[in-house]
């Protein structure tokens, strides 16, 4: 690093702090949040920024997560850029308002610290909370580390506020593994972020001179057309996500691949697909196995909604077996990510064998040995050995 202020700063931050810095750089006018482990540091850090006059915004202390999302929606309704953050039980409590915000097309950005849902009570990470909110009409991004968390908050506003999208974005960090782990994080310069992300000029805001009604009833004759619009916006978001990633990379030097990142997949016979922090661990395993000559690859799924259907169709034609790591389970069937990938493959012709690995529930470690074991099973499966299509990894017994 040199001393050019345009280059920003390098700091030692945990994931929550990185999110707070990301939010600060986006200059939201209104922040309404309620603290919950493991998101609390985001709330604390932002309130510190506000108290120290390092950030100018209306910081609303609300009485619940439901109210946090309501307040954010009210802010967006008058044309303000709004930010909030939550986790687990809080996200579940927000559920009703998630639908309100996406259905009303307010481009709010929210950070969610992935944490399991009670009961049994537990504060550690899995993705059951956000995946339970799949159908709320929010764009969902999953990040691997603190740097990506900070960068993704900035990108999230650029995606959400794009004219073709106007859909809220949820940025997910694995609880504790991402939120509380410290790493070196590059904090971009404010002027660079300002140039990348201009002030929000809502085309969906109330205005004293042209008053409008919002969130109103749409009768049976008209309601379905609003839903069709939401689906179209999500479909367009795929392209916008790629554009924003490219624009961000060109300015800040970090490209993330848009919807997915492929890691050593070029001639891979078997691939693992994962979301969030598990990708970091898997990278090391892939490198090790590659050194030993095994043709393994890794796919980092960065966005769960919209879902990259066409990408997985294409990938399926190149590999013999595919493993999907789900840090969640839809009881009575399988992991949510695996279901969606299989659904994409159904239209692909020759379909590779797929194993769904349920792992890392409620913060249980997904070790390098676990991941090596998954690759072993995939090779066996590819060679015709029987494998259960869905299996729990790291179970006590």
């Amino acid at each position: 690093m040199n001393n050019n202020p345009k280059d920003g700063n390098l700091d030692f931050l945990n994931g929550d702090e990185a999110v707070a810095y990301g939010a600060r750089l986006c200059r939201p006018q209104v922040i309404a949040v309620y603290p919950i482990t493991p998101q609390t540091i985001v709330v604390e850090k932002i309130s510190e920024f506000v108290a120290n006059n390092e950030m100018t915004c209306e910081y609303i202390h609300v009485e619940s997560e439901h109210s946090a999302m309501c307040a954010a929606m009210g802010a967006s309704l008058v044309g303000a850029r709004a930010f909030t953050a939550t986790s687990s039980q809080g996200l579940a409590y927000m559920h009703e308002m998630l639908h309100y915000v996406s259905g009303s097309r307010f481009p709010i950005v929210m950070m969610n610290a992935n944490r399991t849902l009670a009961a049994p009570w537990n504060i550690f990470g899995d993705q059951r909370d956000s995946l339970s909110q799949r159908d709320t009409g929010w764009i969902q991004a999953y990040v691997e580390n603190g740097q990506e968390a900070l960068d993704m908050i900035i990108q999230a506003y650029a995606i959400a506020e794009d004219d073709r999208v106007y859909t809220p974005v949820m940025v997910n960090l694995d609880g504790f593994v991402n939120t509380h782990t410290f790493e070196l994080v590059h904090i971009p310069a404010q002027e660079e972020v300002d140039a990348f992300l201009p002030p929000f000029k809502s085309r969906n805001a109330v205005d004293f001179h042209h008053p409008r009604s919002f969130c109103m009833t749409a009768s049976t004759e008209w309601n379905m057309e609003f839903r069709y619009q939401q689906q179209e916006a999500m479909d367009r978001a795929r392209g916008v996500i790629a554009e924003v990633d490219k624009g961000f990379g060109d300015r800040f030097g970090r490209y993330y691949g848009g919807m997915v990142e492929e890691i050593r997949c070029e001639d891979a016979e078997v691939v693992l697909v994962g979301m969030g922090s598990v990708v970091g661990t898997s990278r090391i395993v892939v490198d090790r196995l590659r050194e030993k000559g095994f043709k393994v690859g890794l796919v980092k799924l960065r966005f769960y909604r919209p879902f990259p259907r066409e990408y997985f169709k294409g990938l399926s034609r190149r590999v013999k077996a595919m493993g999907v790591i789900d840090r969640d389970i839809s009881f009575g069937y399988e992991g949510a990510v695996a279901s969606d990938i299989k659904s994409a493959l159904a239209g692909a012709g020759a379909v590779p064998k797929v194993i769904n690995f349920i792992a890392g529930i409620a913060g249980r470690d997904i070790t390098k040995e676990n991941i090596e074991g998954m690759y072993d099973k995939l090779f066996n499966f590819a060679r015709g050995k029987d494998e259960k299509e869905m299996q729990f990894i790291g179970l006590r017994w």
Binding site: N204, H210, P211, R212, S213, F214, E225, F226
Partner: protein, 102 residues
């Protein structure tokens, strides 16, 4: 009347004309907001003393005093009968919808 008048609402004719989320210009009335009224108030101006008790009490604010003689906006009146009940001069009579005034 101070309340918005009924105007013809132009519905979207294509997906491009749909609003961004369920929103529309405020302060317009596209159809009577009183379709479920069972009884309607009829004011006998010859009995009215102009005390404005009905104007104060009407929960819907549909009684207009701006023209001197009171006027009831039937596009908004829900027919609750509060005005007739409270009128000290018994100048307001509630008539069942569909029936003629006496």
């Amino acid at each position: 009347m101070a309340k918005p008048k009924i105007v013809k609402f132009r519905f979207p004719e294509s997906l491009e004309e749909m609003p961004l989320g369920p929103s529309a210009a405020a302060g317009i009335l596209t159809e009577p907001n009183s379709g479920w009224r069972v009884q309607r108030p009829v004011l006998d101006h010859s009995k009215c003393s102009g005390c404005l008790l009905c104007w104060v009490l009407c929960p819907e604010g549909v009684i207009d005093k701006s023209k001197g003689d009171l006027e009831i906006d039937m596009n908004y009146c829900k027919g609750c009968g509060l005005c007739a009940h409270e009128c000290p001069k018994k100048a307001i009579q509630m008539i069942r919808e569909g029936e003629d005034e006496q």
